[in-house]
């Protein structure tokens, strides 16, 4: 199953390098649909029957992998639906091929049991997406992709340094090279690893993978790349690529907890999380560009996830995991809508699209719903996960940090509200939109909003159980 899940997007990407015209679009749709189906099937299989393994344990999907696979599948499909609007025929196959390669690298990162291969896959996500960021070939997007490539390459090299140190601590206890970098091996040996070395490694790993996850102060590439990329790519990057960075940190956390005591990793994550929230809250008030606004909001939410993990406990971890999913759904949908708005007005400036809810009522309504979800208002899922996260803070005796987090959340909320209000209901800007038809991406938006309502109002049967199983993996 895992092999098939990985083979489909990879084969799709390979075939798409040769396809042209309508055939390319059809193949793109087919690959995306199959990937979604296999991703959901994998997730269901894992939650129904237990962990899947393949290739001598090299590939392995447990509950945490399944959670990520399902998210990548869903957001990938939503982005794929919108992709044809953004690519001309001449460049379609290159775009589609890189798109599926990008999805493949993310899926590989979350389904391998080998730390080294996970590192390679996460590096691969950067390499596959850098040309997608520069797809519109403007000066700004070129600069964004240069920064993205350089900063993320350095970040991932720092993560490699951490990986080397983990391997160093590990190989002394465990002689066999082939299996030494497996999660399963590492977790078994964790209590005996040299605590100081593991702590040092974790610092490098958090800084390194945190760069990919968009944690402040390593986030500087993020607003540029996420705002300059075409909307479907932004949706994938903000929705799931950041979470893949968090996933890597999540995998190392139990190892550190077992080797060096529970408090260390939590404190580091809490510090980075609060800093990210603070930086994002500040920039949400100053940014003039709505795609950048969404990007900074991603920094805020990644910070929030880390705060939840830092608080720990059953509530903190469950809340963080749920928040990853909620944010992926809300943010990807908003980026797709932002892409439509940008196409209609030919501008991503907040001032240029003022009062858009009059000429584009349906897009405006959907955007409003998404923004309200993103701000963490009920009845949407982000409200639930934020309550869980901050509840964990007060329960686990970190009341001061939780209170600070709530204040930052409020500042960010107000900043988002102000910009949204201007965009939707401000005095209309002069030029009428180029595309007054009121078209909006119905399917992805409906699905995302529906799922957000589900996680907010009534958890479907099995969700509680699934989150509990993942929490057991993360918090030992």
């Amino acid at each position: 199953m895992i092999v098939l899940l990985l083979a489909v997007p990879l084969a799709g990407a390979a075939v798409l390098t040769r396809a042209r015209g309508p055939l390319a679009a059809a193949l793109h749709g087919l690959t995306a649909a199959l990937t979604l189906l296999l991703a959901l099937a994998t997730a269901v299989a894992v939650f129904r029957t237990g962990d899947l393994t393949a290739l001598d344990g090299f590939l392995r999907a447990d509950a945490l992998s399944a959670w990520m696979v399902a998210l990548i599948g869903l957001v990938g499909a939503a982005a794929a639906v919108e992709a044809p609007r953004y690519v001309g025929d001449a460049v379609a196959r290159r775009f589609y091929a890189l798109f599926h390669l990008f999805v493949f690298t993310m899926l590989l990162a979350v389904t391998t049991d080998d730390i080294g291969l996970m590192w390679c896959a996460i590096e691969g996500t950067t390499l596959a997406s850098v040309f997608l960021v520069n797809f519109e070939r403007t000066r700004a997007s070129l600069e964004a992709s240069y920064k993205y490539l350089l900063i993320c390459s350095v970040g991932i090299a720092i993560a490699f340094l951490g990986t080397v140190l983990v391997y160093f601590a590990d190989i002394q206890l465990f002689g066999d090279e082939t299996y030494a970098l497996r999660w399963t091996t590492l977790l078994r040996l964790a209590p005996g690893l040299a605590p100081r070395v593991v702590q040092l490694a974790f610092v490098f790993l958090v800084v390194g993978y945190g760069t990919k996850a968009g944690l402040a102060p390593m986030h500087t590439w993020l607003p540029d790349a996420h705002s300059e990329a075409p909307a479907p790519v932004s949706a994938l990057m903000s929705g799931v690529l950041l979470s893949v960075g968090i996933y890597a940190i999540l995998r190392f956390k139990p190892v550190v907890d077992l080797a060096a005591g529970a408090a260390f990793a939590g404190r580091i994550l809490l510090a980075f999380g609060l800093l990210s929230m603070a930086v994002a809250a500040l920039f949400l008030w100053t940014t003039q560009n709505f795609k950048r606004m969404l990007a900074y909001s991603s920094v805020e939410h990644v910070g929030l996830v880390c705060v939840g993990l830092g608080f720990g406990g059953a509530w903190g971890v469950t809340g963080a995991l749920l928040h990853i999913a909620n944010h992926a759904l809300a943010k990807s949908m908003l980026f797709l809508l932002a892409g439509r708005i940008r196409a209609a007005y030919d501008s991503a400036e907040i001032a240029a699209v003022r009062g858009l809810s009059r000429p584009l009522p349906r897009t405006g309504a959907a955007f409003l719903a998404g923004m309200l979800a993103l701000m963490g208002l009920p009845p949407f899922g982000l409200f639930t996960s934020e309550v869980l996260i901050f509840g964990a803070g007060f329960r686990e005796g970190a009341a001061a940090a939780a209170a600070l987090g709530l204040v930052l959340l409020l500042v960010a909320f107000a900043g988002l509200l102000r910009s949204t209000q201007t965009m939707l209901y401000g005095a209309p800007a002069g030029a009428p939109p180029r595309e007054p038809s009121g078209a909006w991406p119905v399917v992805p938006v409906t699905v995302a909003l529906g799922l957000l309502l589900l996680t907010g109002l009534a958890w479907p049967p099995g969700l509680d159980d699934a989150l509990g199983r993942i929490a057991k993996i993360v918090a030992r």
């Binding site: 490699f160 090279e177 100081r196």
Partner: protein
């Protein structure tokens, strides 16, 4: 083995410091190739002395990728740039001072690692880490795309040295993945930098400052 690894790591660090000191880009490029050569020699020496034949292969691949192919690509990236920075910027005195401080920092940070091992190569571990830190410093302070990429590669070399000295190299598949990654990064960098040059007629960092709040 201790003598050999210490000596080679020390030579590597001296070459790294020379990269910090040199101003002309072809000179720094030659020094980078020299650093890669030293690290390849280190891998080969460890392979022979510790009876790990796989490290000989690693040394060979490293030699080809880091000392031959990548310097060629870097030469293409640098082509057309003035040999020395046109604006007589900071002298390298301050940079060398920072690099010296970084060596001390490297020793301090690597203390727990040294304490956790009995390997004959442990004495050289901080030297390799110092190379990595200096590379990171070069990358962050680089004045143009060439400087950024060179710094990144020196950083990468330092980590490779650290992996060699601390663990005698990582498992084969990871090692292969890393070489491939570095190569692809540099090739993509070349493409991106080529486009930057067409757009801006320069790869000076000052021209890449449009996306600011």
């Amino acid at each position: 083995m201790t003598t050999a690894s210490n000596l080679l790591a020390f030579v590597g660090l001296v070459v790294t410091l020379a990269i910090v000191w040199r101003q002309s880009w072809p000179g720094r490029l030659r020094l980078f190739a020299a650093q890669s050569l030293v690290l390849a020699a280190l891998a080969a020496t460890l392979g022979l002395l510790a009876a790990r034949p796989r490290l000989l292969l690693v040394a060979l691949v490293f030699l080809v990728v880091k000392a031959v192919v990548i310097p060629r690509v870097l030469r293409r990236i640098g082509a057309g740039m003035p040999v020395r920075p046109v604006t007589p910027g900071k002298s390298s005195g301050v940079a060398l001072l920072v690099a010296g401080v970084l060596v001390v920092v490297a020793y301090a940070v690597m203390l727990p690692v040294k304490a956790a091992t009995e390997l004959p190569t442990e004495g050289a571990i901080p030297l390799a880490f110092a190379m990595a830190l200096i590379g990171l410093f070069l990358c962050v302070t680089g004045r143009d795309a060439f400087g950024h990429i060179l710094g990144f590669l020196v950083f990468e070399n330092g980590i490779f040295g650290l992996a060699l000295l601390a663990t005698y190299g990582l498992p084969g598949i990871v090692e292969a993945g890393v070489f491939l990654d570095v190569l692809v990064i540099v090739l993509i960098m070349e493409a991106v930098v080529g486009e930057v040059r067409r757009e801006h007629e320069s790869i000076d960092e000052q021209r890449l400052r449009e996306l600011r709040e």
